[in-house]
């Protein structure tokens, strides 16, 4: 369980998060939603222990920061760096092998399994600079799986990737949840949130709302979170069958499999087009 109580975090002397209190149970799948600058990534970094709270605290129960796997925003990664997919993913085993132990055959086996799960078999010796956006994101997921952690923190994992890749990677997330992992994802795509995430944390530097999609994604809350021009979409978005923590098996079966298509919106304008 992750217990966040009265958390305040400053970033470069400015308040980035103010008085956040949230209790996250083991095995939950949660989306963090908010406008740019709402403190979403800051909250992830605070949970990881990379940013110190100015007040309040975060408890991980019996777990420690070593039990956390992190998938950072892809635009912060040097995609031209001369490194193979295999070497890049091997960074996921850092906590086990450190900076001098040999990459053992068991680690190699884990790596192959991770590659299989994200459909990147045969890409081991490819340079990361040759990967497409979708393949690159799959590789980041493979590295996260290599970490074999109980808590997964993902920062905007579906930005600028196609629908098929998004759905494949949602399947990976769902598999992880079924294994009992706690998953917290920063995400901008409200339609994706409403369809696949049972619980939502809505932020605007402070906590606007936390709970099920139906209770959080109201026009009132969205408006408070800075989504004024999008607030009305909560009435039109398909949240007639919101996903709950108790129905994750239902989620799994509802996820489209490979070669299927699904509506995916990343740009607010697309929502408006849909509505009109």
């Amino acid at each position: 369980m992750i217990n966040i109580l009265n958390l305040c975090v400053n970033y470069k002397d400015s308040p980035a998060l103010n008085n956040i209190s949230v209790e996250i149970k083991k095995g939950q799948l949660i989306a963090i939603v908010g406008a740019n600058g709402a403190g979403k990534s800051t909250l992830l970094k605070a949970i990881m222990g990379q940013l110190e709270p100015s007040s309040g605290f975060i408890e991980l129960g019996v777990l420690t920061s070593k039990d956390i796997a992190y998938l950072p925003q892809s635009h912060k990664i040097d995609r031209k760096f001369p490194i193979t997919v295999k070497d890049f993913i091997s960074a996921g085993s850092w906590k086990r092998i450190g900076f001098w132990k040999k990459f053992s055959s068991s680690e190699n086996e884990l790596l192959q399994q991770a590659l299989n799960k994200v459909s990147l078999e045969g890409f081991e010796e490819r340079q990361i600079s040759t990967l497409s956006g979708g393949q690159f994101q799959r590789m980041l997921f493979a590295r996260m799986l290599m970490q074999d952690a109980d808590i997964l923190l993902l920062d905007e994992p579906f930005t600028a990737i196609d629908t098929q890749t998004t759905m494949d990677l949602m399947n990976v997330i769902n598999d992880c949840q079924q294994q009992g992992k706690t998953i917290i994802t920063v995400i901008h795509d409200l339609l994706l949130v409403s369809r696949f995430f049972p619980n939502v944390i809505l932020l605007a530097k402070e906590l606007i709302a936390y709970g099920s999609v139906k209770t959080v994604m109201t026009s009132d809350n969205l408006s408070k979170a800075g989504y004024q021009h999008l607030a009305y979409i909560s009435h039109t978005m398909d949240i007639s069958t919101p996903l709950t923590a108790d129905s994750h098996n239902e989620v799994s079966s509802s996820l489209p499999k490979k070669n299927s298509t699904h509506i995916h919106c990343t740009n607010p304008a697309h929502y408006e087009e849909k509505i009109s």
Binding site: M48, Q50, I68, Y70, P72, Q73, K76, I77, D78, F81, P82, I83, T84, D87, F88, A91, W94, K95, F99, W100, Q127, I128, S129, R143, Q147
Partner: protein
């Protein structure tokens, strides 16, 4: 015919001990500095390297002021000054609103001016030339021992730091999340940069020493996308350029360190034109841009 080739290419290095010392110094520097240069360019810190090369000048100059042309005093002074500027640059980047490149340019100009002023105050123009352009043809035993020691420390440290440095370069946010070594690796790397610049300073001078780090690294990027191959290309380029620079210096009486750096510069321009990865005239580049 064979004896002509021997006289032209080998004899200078077989018959003259100052040429042997110069070649040894350059090879040792190449082994030590080129991998550091490859990582500097991959981290997009070439300008930082240039600024730090000049930053060691006032420290070396104070060493010169206290003890004259003493290798130990100038080395210690250079290392202290380099570390101070590395820390100051980090603080400025973190806490000031100033752009990093303008801060580095300010440090670089300030250091160069202070260093030249100190040396001019006590020494002669010859001393000033020695500090600015090095004296690779006059490397004595002490200097060679120092260069070899720094090379040994540098290569061993880089071997240990290799994995964290790679991960820190490619995805710093992720590496911070899995290891507290991120900051340590960064500062240990900067210390290695300072050490290598001080070593380079003794041979090539403060103005040219960074050339041996950055140019081979920049050249290697045009010929390979594999880090191991890049490191090898950078090393070979540096050794070949050093040999050719010394060769030209011996036969045509060119100033040695500028000759070495100029040879590297010519190889860089050839690579820029014909390099397989990003060269202006290469087929791969055309495919990428079309």
């Amino acid at each position: 015919m064979i004896s002509d080739v021997y006289n032209l290419f080998i004899e200078p290095f077989s018959d003259f001990s100052f040429m042997q010392r110069a070649l040894w110094g350059c090879i040792v520097l190449s082994i030590s500095a080129t991998p550091i240069g490859v990582f500097l360019t991959l981290r997009r810190m070439s300008l930082t390297g240039d600024a730090m090369a000049h930053a060691i000048l006032p420290g070396a100059a104070i060493g010169f002021l206290i003890s004259g042309v003493s290798i130990i005093a100038m080395t210690i002074g250079g290392i202290i000054a380099g570390c101070i500027v590395a820390i100051l640059a980090g603080i400025v980047a973190r806490y000031s609103n100033a752009e990093e490149d303008s801060s580095l340019a300010a440090f670089y100009l300030l250091s160069l001016a202070a260093g030249v002023l100190i040396i001019s105050a006590k020494g002669s123009n010859v001393d000033l030339l020695h500090v600015l352009f090095g004296s690779v043809l006059a490397l004595n035993n002490d200097a060679l021992i120092l260069l070899t020691s720094i090379a040994t420390i540098s290569v061993l440290s880089l071997t240990v730091l290799y994995r964290p440095l790679v991960f820190e370069c490619v995805d710093p946010d992720f590496f911070k999340s899995v290891s507290k070594l991120s900051a340590i690796a960064h500062y240990a790397f900067l210390l290695l940069v300072v050490l290598n610049l001080v070593a380079g300073f003794h041979a090539l001078g403060t103005l040219m020493s960074v050339g041996l780090m950055i140019l081979p690294a920049a050249i290697s990027r045009f010929w390979s996308e594999k880090l191991g191959v890049m490191l090898l290309i950078a090393l070979l380029t540096s050794i070949i350029s050093s040999y050719l620079g010394l060769f030209l210096s011996f036969h045509v009486s060119f100033a040695t360190s500028p000759a070495i750096v100029l040879v590297m510069g010519i190889i860089y321009i050839v690579s820029l034109l014909f390099g397989q990865h990003g060269g202006l005239l290469s087929k791969k580049s055309h495919k990428l841009h079309s």
